[in-house]
């Protein structure tokens, strides 16, 4: 177990180093840099202005030197200066992380809260009217674009409540924040809940056909005991994997939802930074996402052991 953990952590470190190189190189392969964009946006093609900005920001230095400066800074907690806002990148990124984290956390919470029980119900009542209804619901969750769903929710909100949940940075308190973020979180989480629901259903159906389930039934175990004590625990293994992956890849949904609901989170900020080729922001944020994905994968692997004691990681 110990050797496995060391090997996993080493692999994580190697993956992250590889990611950092990939992020750094790919970003510089994208056409245009901050100077082009800043100057061209004014419709003024002044090569001198561009050259001065490029020099001031240090993006005319050799790539290796720039990469080393970034990684070295990162190792010392210095994320550099944002090109556009001209403030330390950490000051730009740090306040936005909790906003997106809360939204993502709430979205996953909604997704699991809806997806797992409805998936179980759908499997247990296979081919019933309820099952068909839930399957249509899950299909719609997978096929409705988040921006469209977000706008519909906003329009309904205006129609029924006369207001829309525009983000307020001064809103404090757990319930106030949950109230403010609930609608966007449902919009983000709807797609994930659909996926979780479908996977839970198919996984449950597979497990319910297993011999040990039949044995449990023949021994007189109640339906609830069979479904929840015997079947669900085993059916949850692939679902946990998907929840982990969904949590890591939620950023895609967050970008759209943060834009539609006007939430100043990290995802919208990342898109804005890519638009401006704000290298320090994009590099650090993409690295952060890479760390989240790698960590989530690691945690999912660890969760397997808890869910299925037969699984052992060893040398």
């Amino acid at each position: 177990m110990g050797a496995y953990l060391v090997r996993r952590l080493f692999l994580m470190a190697v993956t992250l180093v590889g990611m950092s190189i990939l992020i750094f190189v790919l970003l510089r392969l994208v056409p245009g840099n901050i100077a082009d964009i800043l100057v061209d946006a004014t419709g003024n093609d002044d090569p001198q202005e561009k050259a001065r900005i490029v020099h001031d920001l240090g993006i005319d230095r050799p790539l290796v030197e720039q990469y080393w400066q970034w990684i070295n800074g990162l190792a010392h907690g210095d994320l550099g200066y944002a090109f556009v806002s001209e403030r330390p990148a950490i000051e730009e990124i740090a306040p936005r992380i909790p906003i997106s984290s809360k939204l993502a956390g709430l979205a996953i919470f909604f997704a699991v809260l809806l997806g797992v029980p409805l998936g179980v119900v759908s499997a247990v009542r296979q081919n019933s009217g309820l099952d068909y209804g839930l399957r249509v619901l899950s299909l719609s969750g997978l096929s409705l674009p988040a921006f469209w769903l977000g706008l519909l929710v906003l329009m309904a909100s205006v129609q029924w409540f006369g207001t829309i949940p525009i983000y307020d940075a001064d809103a404090h308190g757990f319930f106030t924040q949950v109230k403010m973020l609930a609608l966007p979180a449902i919009v983000v989480g709807f797609r994930s809940s659909a996926l979780i629901m479908r996977l839970t259903r198919s996984s449950m159906l597979e497990v319910l056909r297993q011999d040990y389930v039949r044995t449990a039934r023949s021994k007189g175990a109640s339906n609830a005991s069979v479904n929840y004590d015997h079947a669900l625990r085993n059916a949850l293994l692939p679902v946990v994997t998907v929840i982990g992956i969904e949590a890591a890849f939620l950023v895609g949904g967050l970008i759209v939802t943060e834009t539609v609901f006007n939430i100043p989170g990290v995802a919208r900020f990342l898109v804005e930074a890519i638009r401006w080729r704000d290298y320090p922001i994009v590099q650090n944020l993409t690295m952060l996402i890479a760390v989240v994905v790698v960590t989530m994968n690691f945690l999912v692997d660890m969760a397997y052991m808890v869910l299925d004691p037969r699984i052992k990681f060893g040398g």
Partner: protein
């Protein structure tokens, strides 16, 4: 006796109300505004977008300003701002301003003539040593005739011009011409600028919000009326509109409501006050005249022969957009040519079928036809307001055997692509900061201008631009301006397909809004706006 007293009292109150509207104005409150995108910076001089001017103009003052109580910006309606008075010398080459005394920057330091000098020294590209006021200067061309700025003590400043230039005062009155403080470094001017204006920056959170608070030391006594203005950056247009109808915003972003959207707004917010006006932003066609096929003047001519401006306007704005040439047409525009003259220009004919037949004849002579169309690409920014006219253009080009394909370009690389001449045709939008021939012609059509990104170069037109710029007789100047407009149209320099007219809406509680009809870039000082709630 009692009746006489009552009549006197009512009369006096009435007169006072008329003479001083401030009696009716309420003090206080926060105006909530949406902003359509993240401003690239807060430094007005370094940017060229309404997303910077609209929120930050209230932080600054100019020397002079277009009268905010007049609907049209014109040289006849310029009023004092930081300058109390101004005068020209006899040969109209020296413009001297007497500055208002006792004005302070938001950080408490005194405003002096030196600040005016260092602002304009930086703008003309000769900053004083040790000052670092701006890293970009998109309107350098405005000041090519400015030789030097001299000061006489702390309260007098003189602009020395190379030749007479009556438009110079109009340029100083533009929202794009605030006075900067010499003692504030450029980085701070871009992130948390210091001005003398009615509002100070309390907080600027990128991608989130801008909060301006009342400047209690503002030199115009009794102004501003608002305690604060809060801008929320809302990139999604539908969210902005829903925010307005649900009462979270007091006003829409300028010209944000198109005519199809107006019906929705009015049905959901019945008390909204909406006003349509031209923004002096025109849709125009960029033509790469340096490479085939549009290096051939005959093909350029066939291109304009197919244009049906009325169809563009009907589809894009339900017929509200305005047909004009290089300058905004009258009555909103001060300088544009009259409609009868406009109808004689290529591309503006009322008999579209006849001009299309002529266009087809040209193309047939060059060997093109229905079975052998000329294949081109129409590049445009991948934004609806750019794409929509581009699609209509593609349809109209078919009528003269030009088969075009839409090439949507990411907005961040759009100007780079245009400036590298990596296009054949482009659909573009051009906003004009001041309805003034010097501003428009020097920026967009003068051969030496860095903003003339099509690279149009006609020495005759350059000469005429200089000639009109120096002409002090307005009637004579208008004739030269119309001659330039005609030459540009004949040359197919940058065919204009229409001047946008859109709506701006506000709640009835917002008082004192006066939208200006010939530019969206001026009139955003917010010092006369108040809230009745």
């Amino acid at each position: 006796m009692r009746l006489t007293t009552a009549i006197w009292a009512a009369g006096t109150a009435g007169l006072l109300t008329i003479a001083s509207p401030s009696f009716a104005q309420k003090q206080g409150g926060t105006l909530n505004m949406p902003l359509r995108d993240n401003p690239p910076s807060a430094s007005i001089h370094e940017e060229a977008t309404i997303s910077v001017v609209q929120p930050f103009m209230a932080v600054f003052n100019n020397l002079v300003v277009f009268d905010p109580n007049q609907k049209a910006n014109s040289p006849d309606h310029i009023v004092p701002d930081l300058a109390d008075s101004w005068s020209w010398n006899d040969d109209k080459t020296k413009l001297t301003f007497k500055l208002h005394q006792g004005v302070k920057w938001h950080d408490g330091k005194p405003f002096t003539a030196k600040d005016v000098k260092c602002t304009f020294d930086a703008l003309k590209g000769t900053p004083d040593e040790g000052t670092d006021l701006m890293r970009k200067d998109p309107r350098k061309i405005w000041y090519i005739n400015l030789k030097e700025v001299t000061t006489n003590g702390d309260n007098e400043v003189t602009f020395v011009l190379g030749r007479p230039q009556p438009s110079f005062l109009s340029m100083l009155a533009a929202g794009y011409s605030p006075i900067y403080s010499c003692h504030v470094p450029s980085r701070e001017m871009r992130t948390k600028p210091i001005g003398t204006g009615p509002f100070k920056i309390a907080e600027y959170k990128r991608n989130e919000s801008i909060k301006l608070v009342r400047n209690p030391d503002y030199f115009k006594k009794g102004k501003p009326h608002l305690d604060a203005i809060e801008w929320k950056i809302v990139p999604n247009r539908s969210t902005r509109m829903l925010g307005f109808v649900s009462g979270q915003f007091d006003m829409t972003f300028d010209s944000d409501i198109s005519f199809p959207m107006l019906k929705d707004v009015m049905s959901q917010k019945k008390d909204a006050i909406c006003e349509a006006r031209p923004s002096n932003v025109n849709s125009n066609i960029l033509i790469n005249r340096d490479s085939p096929p549009f290096n051939n003047p005959e093909i350029r001519r066939a291109l304009v022969d197919t244009l049906d401006i009325k169809a563009f306007n009907e589809i894009l704005s339900q017929g509200h957009n305005l047909d004009g040439a290089a300058m905004l047409p009258p009555p909103n525009g001060v300088w544009g040519m009259p409609a009868d003259m406009l109808a004689t220009l290529p591309g503006h004919s009322t008999d579209v079928e006849k001009s299309r037949a002529e266009g087809r004849k040209i193309m047939e002579k060059l060997g093109y036809g229905p079975d052998k169309p000329l294949k081109v690409k129409v590049a445009t920014r991948n934004i609806a307001i750019y794409r929509d006219p581009a699609v209509i253009l593609i349809d109209q080009l078919k009528k003269v055997y030009i088969e075009a394909e839409l090439e949507p370009i990411d907005t961040t690389v759009w100007y780079t692509k245009i400036q590298r001449k990596d296009y054949q045709l482009g659909m573009n939008l051009t906003g004009v900061g001041v309805d003034d021939p010097d501003v428009n012609f020097y920026e967009n059509f003068y051969s030496k201008s860095l903003r003339n990104y099509t690279g149009y170069n006609n020495p005759d037109v350059d000469k005429l631009i200089d000639q009109q710029s120096a002409e002090t007789d307005i009637a004579k100047r208008k004739k030269i301006v119309w001659e330039i407009e005609k030459k540009l149209a004949d040359d197919v320099a940058r065919p204009v397909i229409g001047y946008n007219v859109d709506n701006t809406c506000w709640s009835p509680q917002v008082k004192g809004v006066k939208l200006q009809v010939n530019s969206i870039y001026n009139g955003w000082r917010f010092e006369d706006i108040w809230l009745d709630r």
